[in-house]
Amino acid sequence: MNVYYLQLLILIGINIIMASSLNLVIGYTGQLSLGHAAFMSLGAYTSALATLRLGLPFGAALLIGAVVAALFGIVIGLPTLQLKGDYLAIATLGFGEIVRIVFLNLDITGGAVGLRGIPKETDFLWVICLVLITGFALNRIIHSRVGRALLAIREDETAAESMGINSTYYKTLCFGVGAFFAGIGGGLFAHWFRYIHPNTFGFLNSIEYLCMVVLGGLGNMWGAVIGAGLLTIIPELLRQIADLRLLIYGIVLIIMMRVRPQGILGQSQGKSTHTLSRYYKQILGKIKNR
């Protein structure tokens, strides 16, 4: 395969992992996080140091990176998730910036020089497998008791609590899961480009993932996939007009939100057609047969 297209596909794959894990947090649980790239950077740096310094196999390094990101997600989420709406957004943004600045100043991460010489371990197979695993796991979570609790929190946190749902627990859990997959995305990224820099995972990158989720349609699994695909490909198509690239990107965002504020696959309020999961029909079928 042409190296250029391979790279594009790999980037799309990584962005799908990032967008769909963020979708769990924003789309399904309703918690506006603007620090997703920070979790990606935690996974990227941890896994890169694991292969680079400790010589661990790639799979193990990815897992460690994801776990570290998830732990940070839980530690950060526990206090900040008490906040609502824009306050949470701004707290997560602040947290993301702090992570970036710390990485800029640590010796072990290479500081402002960045981390070089990471072994090239990521390939198409790894990416495709992990995209599928991410999609599978997230889909299962959403269509379960846990997913219902998350949705209930998004819809009405007070009512959810009165149904016996410990909202702090579930919000933190979802933050941890989101961070876990973002960590995997980061590990894949680091071992593909072989060089990472704190500014690769800044505030604007978090915003980019947010845009993917919103553009595709909040709370829709395929929406995140389409959003990630489009927002990876569009800037590539605009590469010929390098100077105007981001200018047009900005315009595209504004126009998209004007034309379709709920995103490409998003539900418009009220009159949506609710798609029922296969699992749902399966159980109903079984109950009827009894």
Partner: protein, 290 residues
Amino acid sequence: MFVQQLINGIILGSTYALIALGYTMVYGIIELINFAHGEIYMFGAFTGMILMTRFNLPFPAALLLAMVTAALMGVTVEYVAYRPLRRSPRLAALISAIGASIFLQNLALLLWGSRPQNFPSPFKIKVYQSSFFSISQLEIIILVISFLLMVGLSFFIKNTRTGKAMRATAQDRDTASLMGININRIITITFAIGSALGAAAGVLVGIYFRTVNPMMGVMPGLKGFVAAVLGGIGSIPGAMLGGLLLGIAEVAGVAYISSQYRDAIAFAILIIVLLFKPSGLVGLPDQEKV
């Protein structure tokens, strides 16, 4: 040493306060984080610089014209990117704001290139020395201008008909509109004033550091928002207080902790404030009704 730091902090803080005012006024009225505000500030700085270097305007005229230009720009951004989305989900408006911010940033890059440009100092470098501290004529002028602008705004909001209408709209948009207040007009005025203050901050920072560049709005933009949250978003005295405190904290942090973590200090303060008093220093807590 301490008094000197305090003065430096107040000078930096007064520019944050001017930026914060724009955020807090807009948020108070349409509950939107105006992500393009940092770019308005940057455009204000550039306009001031160009007017003084290419058109040889005197400083007061350049400042005033920069504020007017920025006001027009802010109003245009609102008209194009926010107004059509007023009834859309809030995230859509947020993404649109981000789109506007990306657009403006890259427009500046296209117009003026990425290299920092010189901002000529309009004042002779005259330093007043005392046994505790020294302060330059330039610094005094910056303080006086910010102070006058803030006092002027407070007077306007408190005493004029339009100011009262703005406060009423911030409290309850629907009721205000029933009372015969033209909401669209109020929103336009809010954006105009907020943007003008942002541009003033841009010009003041420009003459202070004697340099401008298209990315200069990103960090001050974020910090201006932090200052607004710190003081209590929606509160005008809160934004002033928040800006000053943030400036002082940042200068103190650089002096006594580490200059590398300069930007992290602002965000750490933000997170601490959000956790212990999410409504900010001046804001009133809002309890959810069940």
